[in-house]
């Protein structure tokens, strides 16, 4: 196994980089889609609400591999998408549905009194949402989003089937030439495991910062979170 590890690590590290690019691109886009569709779901406008409900149900109700294939092969007749963008978009649209549900739940979990207090001060709905409700919802979003990001990282392996040399793609082609399927797949599994552990660690760090902060400064927002200064200042 060690010899396989040594003979593949250059190839696999390159593939890891592609997996990371895919994951980051798709999760960034997926979060944007998720926030937008969360608002559609909460909207009083029936059309938007239906649109979001259909989107969420269709995406959650069909396999990711089917979605990737449709986007890559189906859309190919209309616009040509590179495998990278087809994969990223499919992953983004997929995770977007789950992220939409996360944000919807979080926004609804914020006490109604917050919105009412803001409105009673004359704040228009969107301002109250942006300044009062969302910062509180975002703070709660880190654990479930972290979880979704881990799923997204692993799901990205499916783009190998539209010909991408991501980690899983690299493993498939390596195994077909060295005929050591089992060992190759275990090694690539360890690569994924390492990535997931690093991601969980980062999410945990972020959460811990929040916990520490909430002892003296509760409900710090995303904006505050990324100003990495000592909590005691």
């Amino acid at each position: 196994m060690i010899d396989i590890f040594l003979s593949t690590y250059k190839f696999f590290l390159g593939a890891t980089w592609l997996t990371l690019k895919l994951t980051l691109t798709s999760l960034f886009l997926g979060s944007c889609i998720g926030i937008i569709f969360a608002f559609f779901r909460l909207s009083k406008k029936k059309a938007l609400n239906y649109l979001a409900t259909i989107y969420i149900n269709v995406i959650r109700g069909t396999p990711l591999i089917v979605q990737i294939a449709i986007l890559y092969f189906g859309i190919a007749n209309i616009v040509t998408l590179s495998p990278f963008w087809a994969g990223s978009l499919a992953l983004a649209i997929h995770s977007g549905a789950y992220i939409a549900e996360i944000f919807r739940g979080l926004i609804q979990s914020i006490d109604k009194g917050q919105m009412e207090a803001a409105r009673s001060l004359g704040m228009p709905y969107h301002l109250a949402m942006r300044r009062i409700v969302l910062p509180q919802a975002f703070k709660l979003a880190i654990p479930p989003l972290g979880n979704q990001f881990i799923i997204g990282l692993k799901d990205s392996s499916l783009v190998a089937y539209v010909g991408m040399q991501d980690l899983w793609g690299a493993a498939l082609s390596e195994a077909s030439s060295n005929f050591q399927q089992m060992n190759t797949y275990i090694i690539v599994g360890l690569y994924y495991l390492a990535l997931v552990l690093i991601l969980s660690y980062l999410v945990g760090k972020l959460e811990a910062r929040l916990e520490v902060d909430s002892k003296n400064r509760p409900n710090r927002t995303f904006k505050n979170l990324f100003q990495f200064k000592t909590a005691s200042s």
Binding site: E116, A117, L121, G122, I132
Partner: protein
């Protein structure tokens, strides 16, 4: 100042307000009394349009408010509200809670807003708490901040919905004290409360509601000494 005419409001099949007529004059303190479920909160929330009534009219400053046409945000700027559960913004400091609306709604300069906020905090006796987050405050302090926050918009009328009901008994006094001070400054107030002492001492008018209707309206010495209806007598026997 505020004139309510034949207000009706239902939640589904439950009719909560059954034709309310009420006039609130400038500089007056009106205390709304009534047993639980009589519609006091709903009436209050119709005045700043947190709730939309089904029928009737609300006039504020001789302007009829039509909630399809009037800019309700402008109306709400002029009608401050204090809630039973304070509803302070937990992710903002006391000072930030108070300057939020003046800055983002009234477009006031930050410095000016902070200056006013500190004056208001001094008024409610909490100047030293400006930098604290709400979770560090006691209930009474939270409610006083909430009052300062509402006052920062310089409303023409203040609505209070059971402002002391969620407080430990020993903290009720400090909030009532602030409210008395506001009353003595001539701020127009509509107060839902179960504090009969406050009603007797501060109210210009006591309004007694029962099952979505106003049964009695009188100055406090009249209402408390010679209640007219059986309902109000029974209510007073229970609360006094």
């Amino acid at each position: 100042m505020i004139c309510i005419k034949q207000l009706h409001k239902s939640f589904g099949s439950l009719e909560v307000l059954k034709g309310i007529d009420l006039t609130i004059n400038k500089n007056q303190v009106v205390v709304l009394l009534g047993s639980s479920g009589s519609g006091k909160s709903t009436l209050l929330r119709c005045i700043n349009f947190l709730e939309f009534y089904d029928q009737g009219e609300v006039w504020i400053n001789n302007k009829k408010i039509d909630f399809h046409q009037t800019d309700l945000n402008k109306v709400r700027e002029e009608v401050g509200m204090v809630f039973q559960h304070f509803n302070l913004f937990p992710h903002k400091t006391v000072l930030e809670n108070i300057i939020e609306a003046p800055i983002y709604v009234k477009k006031m300069k930050k410095q000016e807003a902070e200056h006013t906020a500190l004056e208001l905090l001094a008024k409610v006796g909490l100047k030293d708490k400006a930098g604290e987050y709400p979770h560090m405050l006691s209930g009474g302090q939270k409610q006083r901040v909430a009052i300062a926050r509402a006052l920062a918009m310089e409303p023409k009328v203040m609505l209070f919905d059971e402002p002391t009901s969620a407080l430990d008994p020993e903290l009720v006094g400090e909030v009532l004290q602030v409210m008395k001070q506001l009353a003595s400054e001539g701020i127009t107030m509509v107060v839902v409360t179960h504090e009969m002492g406050f009603a007797k001492e501060v109210a210009d008018q006591v309004v007694f509601m029962d099952e979505g209707k106003i049964l009695e309206q009188a100055p406090p010495h009249v209402f408390f000494n010679q209640p007219e209806s059986e309902r109000s007598k029974k209510f007073l026997r229970r609360v006094l």
